[in-house]
Amino acid sequence: MCRVCRGRSTEPFTITGNGIVYSFTVNHQRWEPDMEVPFALVLVDFPDHPGVRIAGRFRGGDPAIGMAVEIGFEAGPVGFAVPSFAAA
């Protein structure tokens, strides 16, 4: 359901361009035996697309609030790709 008009006709939409880190955390705890730590997670907003926030991994260095990041993907669990961001 559309979050603006509650319309039921929705479809995938491609966002290109950079996002902005809204917040982040660096996880140090090994929650599963084979989990590699530490790793950073970011919540990324897209100023050109109000209401869109994507949670993802962060690649390379330390994230910071307000940092511009580019969209990417990395390998996730059981063969899926997960969102992954890097400094723009």
């Binding site: 809204y22 917040s23 982040f24 955390t25 660096v26 996880n27 140090h28 705890q29 090994r30 929650w31 599963e32 035996p33 989990m35 790793f39 997670l41 919540l43 926030r53 994507i54 949670a55 993802g56 991994r57 609030i65 996730g76 669990p77 899926f80 997960v82 969102p83």
Partner: protein
Amino acid sequence: MRLEEAAVISGVGQSTIGRQVDRSGLQLTLDAIEAAVADAGLTIDDIDGLAMFPGGGVANLPGYANGNLYEVQDALRVTTTWRQGQVEGMSLPFYGPAMAVATGQARHVVIWRTVKEGSAARGAGGRPAYGSTKPVADGPLAWLLPIGALSPVVQIAPFATRYMHEFGATREQLGWIPVTQRAHAARNPDAVYRDPLTLQDYLDSRMISTPMCLYDCDVPADGATAIVVSAAETMPDLRSPVRIEAMAGVVDGRPSWDQWEDMTLVGHATAKAMWNRTSLRPADVDVAQLYDGFTIEVVWWLEAMGFCGVGEAAAFVEGGHRIALDGELPLNTWGGQLSGGRLHAAFGHTAEAVRQLRGEAGDRQVAGAEVAAVTNVGGYEAGAALLTRA
């Protein structure tokens, strides 16, 4: 008549609480129910309503150990006219039961919450994480589990990051919340951790998920809490009922940890709705039992409830004086979940509020406590209430 005037909290009871307690979830549940019913001045036969959180018979984290409502009812051999077991939307433990007794669906409802997360943590070699009981990512966590946010601490840590960034709050300030609560726990024989904790201990402890360290996280524990909610008209039959002055549970943001729009403001709509139902003001609160799954949740509620202004909680708690037992706002006087144990969902907080208002809180009693605040979680599950001495 307002809903709150038609219901009272009549009893609270707990099982043995510890890091690991060698009793099943069902036995712990029955221990707490028996204690709560006796505390109310009632007998099991008086109970005609049963409720538990969470219900559904589904453990969504290892160590959720309520038992099954049918199993508990079968053990108690009670006839019920109202039951409730819910996974989402409880708001406060006594909210649904209060509605039941206020509308005549039942006279005495017992609601319980049982955890064996301490045992589950030992079994898992650490704090229980999502994944072992929930291998499929769906629902509100669908976008968090696959990226490795396998525990509530990881999911909520970005709230603390954003808050500290926005207001310049520091760990040196926020650490006074767990440090002060540990001092309170030292006076609570049922608390899980009672040894002194210093600010240096806090600062030196290992990071779990930045900026939250070990002592920012509540303690996985084993134990059960039961609360009896009774129709106000039964007060003459009750040993020492406590009044519900006001309660509310408003969710005005996206029901999701990652999608919550403004991570510096949590609980405000709930607190506002609660204050709109009473003429009491924040300065009237004698003791505050504010949900503390993590330190940052206390920050939310201090500000949302108006005990300090937005962005002021770190300064408010710094040094610990204001939130100490003899301070202007004694906070989580049982140690909270950070030291008393993660009894979850404001069950422990409610039990403590009732004991404080009755003057039955032992060495940690706040002198003359007449008004207690209780809050639960914040964000996509939120509740706030004032309880008063009858």
